[in-house]
Amino acid sequence: MAAILKDGEEQVLKAESIVAELKRLGVTHAVGLGDTALGRVCELLSADPELKWVPVCREGEAFAVAAGLTVGGKHPVVMIQSTGFLESGDALRGTLVNMKLPVLVLISYRGYAGARRARGAAAETDWTDTAAVFLEPTLAAWGLPFLTLGGDEELARIGEALELARQRSAPAALLLLGGCV
């Protein structure tokens, strides 16, 4: 996944910055399934003795594991790709939503750049990634508010999204617009 452009400037999101910010915010576990965008974050977490990485086989499991961790007194985040999020509807509904648990869900936004170009041209093409086309409407349909994160200069969004989750006693999402380096 390429770095994204904002106002003509390339934004860089460092995996080390994400991990450091999650620790600063008191996150204890990251539960999920990595992709090319999150891969470096997962690598760092796998070797981190402080913030524990819990890998799952399918993304829906991440919501249930995170719910159990939260009820048990820990502070997890879920970390998955948008395709896996689309697979996880009932797991999200039945755990974090129904249990009213303020867990942050970090979602890598597959196809973001292409979908943005398609929207700019006011038309999707045969080459537009439907994972990106469906993500934001699905978040809206499932009642999950979200913020976006492009580069290191926006790292405060992690804490803002976490605060959003806390305020509503329910999950909130943070969409990673590009890949982490």
Partner: protein, 204 residues
């Protein structure tokens, strides 16, 4: 074949301070047999996600054992959870599987490949080192103390007679205490009970 109620009664008798997560056809029977503060019914929750919810509890509280009473249909809905449990490195999760080859609460519709799937075999292949398979009540009762006191995760298969359990529901007039409050209140209560025992940090 085991009878579900007598099998679970033996398990309830041996249980001490473990957290117990139930779901589907085990939920109501366990609620009638137990009534412990650390019982939690994954009802009104996500189908097929009791075992992974229990894994989260186990990872959060390595000082306590967590038993989950899962159904075979529920297990098939998230079979990868067997691998997730092993990969997690948790040492305190006891996964009981109630195998009756049907989706009992929806009228005993047969599972895919009913009777041809080896759940203990799947658990072994996923990396569970302690795997048990019980057909007879006396064998279960003899082994239960060792299963509960032993070290490491365990997979405990209970081969059950076919049952007729109705759909368990949460409702304010439910006679079964742990089904008489909404899911979020039940989760909050479990969290509070765990906090009383120590190990739960301040709200995030």
């Amino acid at each position: 074949m085991l009878n579900k109620e007598t099998g679970l009664r033996a398990s309830a008798r041996e249980r001490s301070d473990e957290i117990v997560v139930t779901t589907m056809s085990a939920a109501s029977i366990w609620g009638r047999l137990s009534g412990h503060d650390l019982d939690f019914a994954s009802i009104g929750s996500a189908m097929g996600h009791a075992a992974d919810f229990a894994l989260g509890l186990a990872l959060a509280r390595p000082d306590k054992k967590v038993m989950v009473l899962n159904g075979d249909g529920s297990m098939l809905m998230s079979l990868g959870t067997l691998v997730t449990i092993v990969a997690s490195g948790a040492e305190n999760l006891l996964l009981f599987l109630l195998e009756n080859d049907t989706y009992e609460i929806t009228g005993n519709l047969p599972l895919p490949a009913a009777g041809r799937v080896s759940f203990p075999g799947l658990a072994e292949a996923a990396g569970f080192r302690r795997v048990f398979d019980f057909h007879r009540q006396e064998d279960l009762e003899r082994a239960l103390p060792g299963i509960l006191s032993g070290r490491g995760i365990a997979f405990v298969n209970l081969r059950l007679e076919r049952g007729r359990e109705p759909v368990p529901v949460r409702a304010p007039d439910q006679a079964i205490s742990y089904l008489s409050r909404p899911l979020h209140a039940a989760a909050g209560l479990l969290r509070a009970h765990l906090a009383e025992e120590g190990g739960v940090g301040p709200p995030h």
